[in-house]
């Protein structure tokens, strides 16, 4: 009986280890390859671990001014669009959650339906408009597109978070003579904080990883973001320089890794709220 249980445990942990290796393999490979020379990458049998830490790839990538610009574009576009989404979406979600106004439900339906619209169904008119307005290949254009496309899900996540704030908490503050603005900042928002963090992370990651819109609406270092730059390196005409590609790829992975370590429970929460709640 005891032996049976031990064997079961061992099998369980082997299974768990297997799942983790498969989940992490491409990330691990990208990390290790970013320290390899081109000869090491093209070696057979394949080596997973570099002979020594070869930092050259990182210097090569960030010695080139265009890659610094792509990184800057990614940071500027992602943070600005995320901020806009959080502020506008937060206001809208607050209204949806706390005020019973005419059309509350039908407006919420519009939000829900637009959330499901695929980007490819929007890009043709958006491209024509961007060309006409002269905003094609600008960060501003990309910021507006990102802010709009992430709004529906953010509103939904924030509304769910606001709905869950216990009314008794607000009532107690009112009885104590707290004014509504103070209640909002001191009680309401802190009580909804986990949900707000969830919406923030999901919005940030969506913008940071976004590829289709960036691929279509950017063409020069003026607005090109990291995902497009990485994709371009994968299509290099004279063979791919894997060391450089993976070094640049690491910058694209970095926020994901940090977020996964620190705040994975918010991501899980967002994923569930965004689908089943």
């Amino acid at each position: 009986m005891n032996w049976h249980r031990t064997a079961g445990r061992v099998a369980l942990y082997i299974g768990v280890a297997g799942i983790c290796v498969i989940a992490l393999l491409p990330i691990l490979w990208t990390f290790l390859t970013s320290f390899m020379t081109q000869e090491e990458v093209y070696r057979f049998p394949p080596t997973l671990f570099p002979a020594g830490f070869h930092y050259q790839n990182y210097f090569e990538i960030f010695g080139a001014s265009q890659y610094r610009l792509f990184t800057l574009n990614s940071i500027v576009v992602t943070t600005t669009a995320t901020l806009i989404t959080m502020i506008l979406g937060g206001s809208a979600a607050y209204a949806f959650s706390t005020v019973a106004f005419r059309g509350n439900f039908s407006l919420m339906l519009i939000v829900l339906v637009t959330r499901m619209v695929p980007g490819i169904a929007l890009v043709i008119p958006l491209y024509m408009v961007a060309q006409r307005l002269g905003v094609y290949d600008t960060r501003t254009n990309l910021i507006v597109l990102y802010a709009a496309t992430t709004l529906p899900l953010a509103i939904w996540l924030l509304k769910t978070a606001f709905d869950a704030v216990p009314q008794s908490l607000l009532e107690a503050a009112r009885i104590d003579g707290c004014n509504e603005v103070r209640i909002l900042y001191r009680i309401f928002l802190p009580a909804a904080a986990p949900g707000i963090v969830t919406a923030l992370i999901i919005t940030f990651l969506t913008n940071w990883n976004e590829f289709l819109l960036a691929q279509i609406f950017t063409s020069s270092p003026a607005s090109k973001t990291l995902p497009v730059a990485v994709a371009e390196l994968t299509g290099a005409e004279y063979g791919i320089h894997w060391g450089n590609l993976t070094a640049l790829g690491m910058f694209l992975i970095l926020p994901t890794l940090l977020l996964a370590v620190w705040v994975q429970r918010y991501v899980v929460e967002g994923l569930i709220t965004g689908s089943v709640k």
Binding site: G15, I19, C20, L24, L25, P26, P45, P46, L88, G89, A92, A95, V99, A100, R102, N104, L107, V111, V113, T114, M116, P118, I120, A121, L122, V123, I124, P125, L126, Y127, M128, V144, A147, A148, T149, P152, T160, Q167, E171, L205, N209, F211, L212, Q215, P227, V230, A231, T234, G235, G249, L252, I253, T256, A260, V261, R265, V267, L271, I272, V276
Partner: protein
């Protein structure tokens, strides 16, 4: 899954009651005005960037519009674009391949996801760490996922071929992404790798919402483990499964990045899907009218899925 609904809608009603009882109707009207003001900016952005393009794409799909030939203008052609699509052998191939991709990846994700969810539902040390780790593929940039798997699957230097040859499973390295009949399954597997965390987490949440007493009661009544699974757990899990299926279908019909980076639709168009085909028609051939009709097909599938989704949510009491 439950839980938040009971705390949800009453907030609005109670707030309205509060305003009404203390300050009378005028404040309630004022509050409504503020509410519209708070929602207006979001709504304008959503309508401008999402609703208007949806309408205009539909409009364009009944017209000829070629950006490289501006002299042609926008000419009404009725259903010609749709007829052209139906008669185009490449479109029929692409449509079939998209369907193949959607069905195969969904079936695999559901089967493996269910197994994984049951597995992770068990108690073991480090469970939370593992649940965090398995989320990484889903959070990872699809561009990075695409190029790293493309290299791992490389015919001459890839780790996958090396392991398969070493393990005696295949005789010689195989060009997975370069062979018709193997490229699409390879992309399906990479997509399963990417989307499995989503399906697993949704199903896991569903499993956790089933009270353990329900299953224990079934066991006490003499049901076997498999009997309990098929007659108790699975039926109770049905709403979660449906939600996972709907959300994944919506995402799968718009598959783009993996194909764009791993195969560019090749070899011999065997991995071309609706989104990559539409992208090419619109942004390489600038054939906006025809591309719009293709976009409308993707849009309709997504909207149909979202309507079913909203109905499911309403019948489950999550939306009022």
């Amino acid at each position: 899954m439950g839980g938040n609904t009971s705390a949800g809608a009453p907030l609005a009603r109670r707030l309205r009651g509060h305003a009404g009882s203390v300050h009378g109707g005028r404040l309630a009207a004022h509050q409504r005005l503020v509410a519209y003001g708070l929602i207006a900016p979001s709504l304008l952005l959503i309508l401008g960037v999402m609703a208007y393009p949806m309408v205009y794409t539909t409009f364009l799909s009944f017209h000829t519009r070629i950006l490289t030939r501006p002299a042609l203008g926008t000419r009404f052609v009725g259903l010609a674009n749709y007829l052209r699509a139906v008669q185009d052998p490449l479109f029929r191939q692409v449509f079939g391949q998209t369907l193949y991709f959607v069905i195969a990846s969904l079936a695999l994700e559901l089967a493996i996801g269910l197994g994984l969810a049951l597995f992770l539902h068990r108690q073991f040390r480090g469970r939370n760490v593992v649940r965090g780790l398995i989320l990484l593929p889903w959070m990872l940039s699809p561009v990075v996922a695409a190029f790293s798997w493309a290299w791992l699957l490389n015919d001459a230097y890839g780790l996958v071929n090396y392991l398969l040859v070493q393990g005696g499973i295949i005789q010689a390295p195989h060009s997975w992404l370069g062979t018709v009949g193997f490229a699409m399954p390879a992309i399906i597997l990479v997509d399963v790798w990417r989307e499995l965390p989503f399906v697993t987490v949704v199903l896991l949440a569903g499993l956790q919402s089933i009270p353990s007493e329900v299953r224990e009661a079934a066991r006490v009544d003499g049901a076997s483990a498999t009997g309990t699974f098929f007659h108790v757990t699975l039926p109770l899990l049905k709403p979660s499964i449906l939600v996972a299926l709907l959300m994944r279908t919506m995402m799968a019909v718009r598959l783009f990045e993996l194909v764009f980076i791993m195969t560019k639709g090749g070899p011999a168009s065997s991995t071309d899907v609706l989104a990559t085909y539409t992208y090419r028609e619109a942004f390489l051939n600038f054939n906006m009218g025809y591309a719009s009709s293709l976009a409308v097909v993707i849009l309709l599938v997504s909207l149909a899925m979202s309507l079913v989704y909203i109905r499911t949510m309403r019948s489950e009491g999550h939306l009022r």
